[in-house]
Amino acid sequence: MAKLKLPTPTEALDRVRDTEVWRSIFRPGSIFRRGYRDTSRDRALATMNNVLYHLHPVKMKRHGLKLTYTFCLGGLSFFLFILLTITGIYLMFFYRPAAELGSAAAYTDMQNIRTSVFFGDLVRNLHRWGAHLMVFTVTLHMARVFYTGSYKPPREFNWVVGVLLLFLTLGLSFTGYLLPWDQLAVWAVTVGTSLAGYSPLIAKQANFLLLGGVIVGPDTLLRWYVLHVLALPFVLVIFLSVHFWRIRKDGGISGPL
């Protein structure tokens, strides 16, 4: 009588890794694929054959690893952008950008996020603090790039793209500031946009375009919500792609000093 022999966990894992489905998902060089060896070849393939890692080159200058050269600021800004996207999508499920007089759905939704939404408070806190941190890291990243002279040829244009990305980051943070629709939000935005009201020729038009009216009102909220969750992230991702692509094309990390 044949005795049924159960495979050990290792054997079972190996069998799963040998299936066609597994091998079709993980391309050669993936560390999840069977037969990965710590050789130069497989290390190169690990970078090349992964959709996220292939933003990076296979090899880089050794000094680029030095923490005191980059402080990881660019990478952390990107990470914060991803984190803000994820937490932002979660918050979007529970938020309506409506602020009609007497029934400001935006504000009551904010209160619900804090009190009754599953992990709503934590996610909102992460989103808010992460946004402030991102403005900070992007600014510091710019300072780092300046002090290492990394904006010099052939990287001039990437610096210009970076300045644009800083501007977009501020725009994203500022448009998000209005969404809670509390006293802090509305009056900070009122003060902030009044600065644009001082532009010499197109003062009124600029302000009207920004606010969708003459004061911060329900139309402003809808307008800034669309800018915050759709328009500005869309533009930012485009320029972010250009930014990353140019790093590679311009010869990778700059330096050493």
Partner: protein
């Protein structure tokens, strides 16, 4: 893969490595040369292995194992060839004889017969395979344009570093977000202006500037437009090619001044302005600042 599996002749490897290191060759290059020599020696010893040796020689058509002694001679050749060519370049009149001399020098070094253009017959019983083979002169392999030792694999070195940095920031941010709540004040009221009313912190420098300048100057002309434009054109204005801090005193000074200017204004606007946007000392009258 084949490289790791093929047997090497250890004696030859050690001997050539010692020779090359003695000559002061870079270790990486020396190891490569020693490995190549050991591989050739191992093949010469075992005769011609049937499948494991897709060496350049069979492709050339004669099927014999290459002699180990040929490699150093070929490697030495470019040096002797290069000398007359350089002379030719500096003295145009002597160019023709020099190139002739170079030609006569290289001709005897050539190991492979001239290409016939005929496709070699596949071996009997060999599986049908499409093979791409190329003849690469030994000196062509060793010529390195930049320092190889300075480059490392992104996986795992950089990716692990990035991952650790991400996890640290995520952990710190999560802990902070767990214990510190983001502010949510009472419902917006257009008829009730809070005192003081301040812009978000990154615009407070601008708001502070409005205390000192005419709004037209500080509001739109000065800060956003001028600073952003100045930053954007900086690489086209700064024509100094050096990245050494010692050579860039002016650029670094100007940028640091801009940063400090912005930081000081922002800190004043954030912590030193209270009710009515008047000056306060944060340790005496308290902090009027919300994120």
């Amino acid at each position: 893969m084949a490289r790791d599996d093929t047997a090497l002749d250890q004696e030859t490897f050690d001997r050539v490595l010692a020779e090359e290191l003695g000559k002061g060759t870079d270790r990486r290059v020396a190891e490569g040369r020693a490995r190549a020599a050991a591989l050739r020696a191992a093949r010469a010893k075992s005769g011609e292995g049937p499948a494991a040796t897709p060496a350049p020689a069979p492709a050339a058509g004669d099927g014999g194992a290459p002699e180990p002694a040929a490699a150093p001679a070929a490697a030495a050749a470019p040096a002797t060839v290069a000398a007359p060519a350089v002379v030719g370049a500096t003295a145009p009149a002597a160019a023709a004889p020099a190139s002739v001399a170079a030609g006569t020098l290289t001709a005897p070094e050539r190991q492979a017969p001239a290409p016939t253009g005929n496709v070699p017959e596949p071996k009997k019983g060999a599986p049908e395979k499409h093979r791409l083979l190329a003849l690469v002169p030994p000196e062509g392999i060793q010529r390195v344009e930049r320092e190889q030792g300075d480059r490392i694999n992104v996986w795992p070195h950089l990716l692990i570093e990035e991952f650790v940095a991400m996890m640290i920031v995520l952990a710190a941010l999560t802990i902070f977000a767990t214990f510190v709540n983001a502010p949510l004040r009472e419902l917006a009221n257009p008829n009730l202006t809070p005192n003081p009313s301040k812009a978000p912190w990154y615009f407070l420098g601008l708001q502070e500037l409005l205390r000192y300048f005419h709004p037209m100057v500080a509001g739109v002309l000065f800060a956003p437009t001028l600073v952003l434009l100045a930053l954007a054109v900086a690489p086209y204005v700064d024509r100094n090619p050096s990245t050494k801090p010692g050579d860039r005193k002016i650029a670094i000074t100007l940028f640091t001044m801009l940063l400090m200017f912005g930081a000081v204004l922002t800190i004043i606007g954030s912590f030193f302005r209270g009710t009515g946007y008047n000056w306060v000392w944060p340790w005496a009258q308290g902090v009027f600042f919300e994120l």
